[in-house]
């Protein structure tokens, strides 16, 4: 077990190294240059431009730039080209809002998805199942920007509700509770939009495994014992159908900090997606490389976690 973990960690380091090289070159070989004041700006002299390029090592050959970025990343000195602040503190300041958004979204998609899945499996083949399938496929098919705009227009034009950012502006709340509810409201909307695809996927997934499980002998046995249908469904069937999901939790790790560009932009939510998106537009190489690195590390860690959990839930699996 320990040797398995050590081996996997060693492999992950090698992989991370390769990923960092690939991501660095993809980022830097994109046309354009990270120049914050506009290329065609008559106010900026060639000297100022050269000074700027020197400051961020952009005058060096690419392999040296890579080495410098990696050195700075590990010493914590890596600075964003946009505002000259350490990249890690820029990432960390997005973390709370991003975690809140993604955690809520995952919670919504898992809970509603599971309910919908169990309901569909229970009524497999009947009209309830058809309706459930229809809704699930509709949810998968709807593009998130469309739902976001629709939601925004209906809520704003119809009800005059503030929806942008993390809280309402320009008004004072009578008590902290109302202010808290206001913040929650601003969190729930984008989280719901983000969760819609997840609800659909989770419900379809669960429906399929659940239908399989319900045909098993031990379910028939449980029913024959005279157990309540609820107990059969939620204790015997669901627990056995949910196992693949548990192992999938590892993949939630990167999902928790990854951003949702479109939804964050529309709802003006200050998350990781906008950080990355703006860094791409500004060719902010240090921020992009650091973001890629962090997410890649979390993916690798998540994979490892999945494997470990798999062994933990299923005694038949051994890690060698």
């Amino acid at each position: 077990m320990t040797s398995f973990i050590l081996r996997r960690l060693g492999l992950s380091v090698v992989l991370l190294f390769i990923i960092s090289i690939v991501s660095f070159f993809i980022v830097t070989l994109t046309p354009g240059s990270p120049y914050p004041w506009g290329e065609l700006n008559p106010k900026i002299s060639a000297e100022v431009k050269a000074n700027f390029r020197k400051k961020f090592h952009l005058d060096r050959p690419l392999h040296e730039q890579y080495a410098l970025i990696m050195r700075d990343l590990f010493t914590g000195d890596l600075r964003s080209i946009k505002d000259d602040r350490p990249v890690m503190s820029r990432i960390m300041e997005r973390l709370p809002a991003t975690l809140a958004l993604n955690f809520t979204a995952i919670l919504i998609s898992l809970s509603f998805g599971t309910l919908l899945g169990v309901y569909a499996a229970r009524n497999a083949g009947r009209w309830q199942d058809m309706a459930g399938s229809f809704i699930a496929f509709l949810f998968i098919a709807l593009p998130s920007f469309w739902i976001s705009y629709l939601l925004a227009i209906v809520l704003v034009k119809g009800f005059h509700v503030p929806i942008l950012g993390t809280h309402s502006y320009g008004i004072e709340f009578s008590n902290p509770f109302a202010a808290g509810l206001d913040t929650l409201w601003h969190l729930l909307l984008p989280a719901t939009v983000l969760a819609i695809g997840g609800i659909a996927a989770q419900s379809r997934y669960l429906r399929a495994t659940m239908i399989g499980t319900l045909r098993e002998d031990y379910i028939r046995t449980a029913r024959a014992k005279g157990l309540a249908e609820e107990t059969v469904l939620y204790k015997h069937a669901l627990r056995n159908s949910i196992r693949p999901l548990v192992t999938g939790i590892g993949m939630l790790l990167p999902a928790l900090i990854s951003g949702a560009v479109i939804v964050e932009n529309i709802f003006a939510y200050p998350g990781m997606g906008r950080l990355g998106y703006e860094a791409v537009l500004e060719r902010d190489y240090p921020t992009l490389v650091a973001l890629n690195f962090v997410v890649a590390a979390l993916v690798l860690l998540g994979n490892l976690l999945s494997d470990l959990l798999y062994a933990a839930v299923d005694p038949r699996v051994r890690l060698e």
């Binding site: 354009g32 914050p36 400051k55 000259d84 034009k157 309402s168």
Partner: protein, 632 residues
């Protein structure tokens, strides 16, 4: 099992309850509007350090926190800000071989010139130093002429830049600023001339990497004889230099001893200035909140706070305006018409400071003939473009300056749209219609590629309309669209293109040397069309040395006329910007020119609708008598 079911049913139920509660709260329970102005911006400031930024989002916020030494008033005249007075003068030095010769030359000047003399004179060894009342090269050149004609031959000075020409005299303009008394930084420290000198040193410091550095390249020294006086000496006459003192002044007592590498953390996101608003709070990608500075030197602002909200999506920014989450909205041209009759809104429209054009690469033989360029300008239907691309919200461009600038010449009239005249001009230039309808000269078809950048719909539409217009007169245009970065790197910077759709947005600077001077045509320089004209070269250099406003206006007009006559660009249009505010949401109570307070509705001025924004107030929070009694 219980926990699982609790999770399965409890969470959705709880979420639904919360959703309803939060919705009700947000819809019905919100109370008490704050005395706060809310401004929505699509982009976020990169830094609030005014000498380290050049983006509009940053300068909008910085404008409320900082002051420069001087500023534009609402009629775009220069007035004092942190300075109450500024005097221009110049020291011109003639150098001679001997002391004796200098003395004789001085005597000559004293006898032949009428009194009172336009200068004060000093002899310093073999140098004759004249203190002129006005900067510029003209008077010095006249004096040099007098001296030479009388047989005095001053020695030349070495050139300023390596490879430059030797100079017959040394002309050093001097600006002497007298600073306002009793100004304090937001932290209470007094503002002095040391802050001004420090700001100059910071801009020139390579570690600060200031984009404003080129504005101060010609500064020779900044001296502070006393806490209220700043004397700036320049290496040579350069009139745009005065405008550069609109740059915000930084606090020496906070930054002077701090390594610039630490500024981004320690200062740039929580700056201390002298302006009407203090920095409050910055949440990245969300908002920047400023609080009023009750000790502002002109008196406390009426608003409690100003919040800049970052709303990156144009549609939701519009929604935020409609629910009064933000107070202003910059409207796209297509939407203006629908709002114009609406009694709920106040609209402020004015031509912007940017114009669109098609640059002809003058290195290409087909564009070298002026007749051809005139024909192209007459063949393209610009009024139609304004009608269909800008929905009528723009004016036809008549050259390198836009109508809002104080040196713009309104007498330059645009070339009329006249395809028949265009055809005639092309015939005269030797381009005759060929077999396929495309004109031919010496076996070459009149066919070229027009470039535009991806993602800019206005420029793409321009290219399409030009293609159609020019086809009517027998010219074939191939349109190619590239990503902005690719466009610059592969075509513009190398000067390798036929024609290109671009735009300039240039602010209120009359100096366009870097765009039009014939010395600026190398790769990566801004005269990428390769324009070269002796008269324009002279005008550009003269303009840089002219300090008197009427003379600047005269030279600028001549420059605008000459370049428009040469048609190196097809000058298209100046788009109009429109800002919307809920009717009467704000009024303005600001210091008038004579020191009294003027109360008036928000209105359009030459300097824009948001001029003196720090003095906006909400009618439901009227200016109080106490605040009112504060004198300037």
């Amino acid at each position: 099992m219980r926990t699982l079911r609790l999770f399965l049913f409890g969470i959705p139920a709880a979420l639904l309850v919360l959703l309803v509660a939060a919705f009700v709260n947000a819809t019905f329970l919100s109370v008490a509007k704050k005395n706060e102005m809310s401004i929505g911006t699509l982009g976020e400031p990169s830094t609030l350090n005014p000498i380290q930024q050049a983006d509009s989002a940053s300068s909008q916020v910085g404008g409320l926190i900082f002051n420069g030494l001087i500023k534009y008033n609402q009629n775009l005249e220069i007035v004092g800000d942190l300075a109450t007075k500024w005097e221009l003068s110049q020291e011109t030095t003639f150098q001679f071989a001997t002391e004796e010769e200098a003395r004789k030359a001085n005597f000559t000047l004293g006898t032949i010139l009428t009194r009172p003399l336009p200068f004060e004179d000093t002899l310093q060894g073999n140098a004759l130093i004249l203190r002129l009342k006005e900067p510029g090269n003209k008077l010095s050149e006249d004096l040099l002429g007098e001296l030479m004609s009388d047989g005095h031959h001053p020695l030349p000075f070495p050139p300023l830049e390596p490879g430059g020409k030797e100079r017959p005299f040394k002309a050093e303009p001097i600006i002497r600023f007298t600073l306002r008394d009793g100004v304090r930084w937001h932290d209470g420290a007094p503002f002095t001339s040391a802050d001004v000198a420090f700001t100059y040193r910071a801009i020139m410091n390579e570690k600060v990497a200031s984009p404003r550095r080129s504005d101060f390249d010609l500064v020779d020294s900044v001296e502070t004889p006393d806490p209220r006086t700043v004397v700036v000496r320049y290496k040579k006459p350069f009139s745009p230099a005065l405008l550069s003192w609109m740059t915000a002044i930084l606090p020496e007592h906070l930054l002077g001893k701090l390594d610039p590498a630490r500024w981004p953390e320690a200062y740039n996101r929580a700056p201390v200035g002298t302006g009407p608003f203090k920095f409050g709070e910055w949440k990245t990608n969300e908002f920047i909140r400023l609080k009023k500075n009750p000790d502002y030197f002109l008196g406390s602002p009426w608003l409690d706070s100003v919040v800049f909200r970052v709303l990156p999506d144009p549609l939701t920014l519009q929604l935020a305006f409609q629910t009064r989450q933000v107070d202003f909205w910059n409207v796209d041209p297509w939407a203006v018409k629908g709002l114009q009759g609406d009694q709920r809104f106040d609209l402020f429209s004015a031509p912007g400071n940017a114009y669109n054009y098609i640059g002809w690469n003058l290195r290409r033989p087909m564009f070298q003939d002026l007749k051809v360029r005139q024909a192209l300008a007459q063949a393209v239907n610009v009024p139609q473009m304004i009608k269909y691309i800008l929905y009528g919200h723009g004016v036809q461009s008549t050259g390198i300056f836009t109508p809002q600038m104080w040196f713009f010449d309104p007498l330059v009239k645009p070339l009329s749209h006249d395809p028949e005249a265009a055809k005639k001009l092309l015939d005269e230039a030797g381009w005759k219609p060929g077999a396929d309808g495309i004109r031919v000269k010496e076996g070459k078809r009149f066919s070229f590629t027009l470039l535009a950048n991806n993602g800019n719909e206005v420029r793409r539409d321009i290219a399409t309309l030009v293609q159609d217009d020019l086809k009517q007169v027998g010219i074939e245009v191939k349109v190619e669209i590239y990503e902005w970065a690719v466009l610059l790197k592969r075509f513009v910077n190398k000067g390798e293109f036929d024609a290109i759709v671009l735009g300039w947005g240039l602010g209120y600077d009359f100096d366009q040397y870097s765009i039009w001077h014939s010395s600026q045509t190398h790769p990566e320089e801004l005269n990428f069309v390769g324009f070269s004209n002796t008269k324009v070269d002279h005008l550009l250099t003269d303009l840089r040395q002219e300090y008197a406003r009427p003379e600047i206006i005269r030279l600028a007009a001549e420059l605008q006329q000459t370049i428009y006559g040469q048609q190196p660009y097809l000058f298209l249009f100046v788009p109009e910007g429109t800002e919307v505010m809920w009717k009467g949401a704000y009024r303005l109570r600001h210091p008038g020119p004579d020191g009294t307070w003027i109360d008036e509705p928000v209105h359009m001025t030459k300097a824009g609708w948001s001029y003196d924004m720090e003095w906006f107030y909400r009618p439901e929070y009227p200016p109080t008598a106490k605040a009112n009694s504060i004198t300037r």
